[in-house]
Symmetry: C2
Subunit: 133 residues, 2 copies
């Protein structure tokens, strides 16, 4: 369990760095083939190509200054499937934050799956249960 | 997508009825072999046997009067893996509700997986992101 948590934390840290560096080709390698990213409530990107495009748009929306930072994190591990609950802070330039319609502090729900010994993100929902609002 | 949502909604409705009827042998057939139930924050039941025992204790805790009711529900579907976000109301006798340390209204996160054409629950976390509190 400890080892799995450590591996997934490393994947999330790598992804956060790749988002900040806008290296989206490398980023989507951490997603499953049929992964879903909740871009904003009601809007989903599905599969690596759509997710890559969505991240590029999100970066632009945040004035190319986005920096995701994870806070408190909990994991529930069921074999090859893991639910990650994470406090996520989206840091960005003052200008971008002022213009944003979206909360910069979120409680995210990520689902990771083990595929060929690698932990990949299958569902990336930074909005967590707030989608029920 | 519509069909998958319909099937999973039916599974959840069946499970809620089986919990109310305390038919735990039938209930655990809707869980994967390595499923995890978050019994309460920090306490997990893992696998069908532990989950069955946990549900029996939960029923007793709630004075054998438990009735789960789902409200608003959202699903994010990534191939054979689905994240369900659900408003869940735990109804129970007045006496049981008064004695309970736990919220009777929750925002749950369930993960379902398709196994041999059936949708089974892999992670049952009725506490949702409130585990981060």
């Amino acid at each position: 369990m400890e080892q799995i948590m450590k591996e997934i934390k490393q994947v999330i840290a790598s992804c956060d760095q790749l988002i900040q560096d806008e290296k989206f080709n490398e980023l989507v390698e951490y997603y499953t083939e049929d992964a879903v990213l909740v871009v904003k409530p009601g809007i989903e990107a599905r599969g690596k190509a759509e997710i890559k495009t969505a991240f590029a748009k999100i970066a632009q929306y945040f004035d190319n200054s986005i920096k995701p930072v994870e806070g408190e994190m909990k994991m529930i591990i069921a074999g090859d499937t893991v639910l990650v609950l994470a406090q996520t802070f989206i840091e960005a330039s003052e200008k971008a934050v002022k213009q944003s319609d979206f909360s910069m502090e979120r409680r995210a729900t990520y689902i990771f799956k083990q595929v060929d010994h690698n932990w990949l993100c299958a569902i990336d929902n930074s909005y967590g249960t707030s989608l029920l609002d």
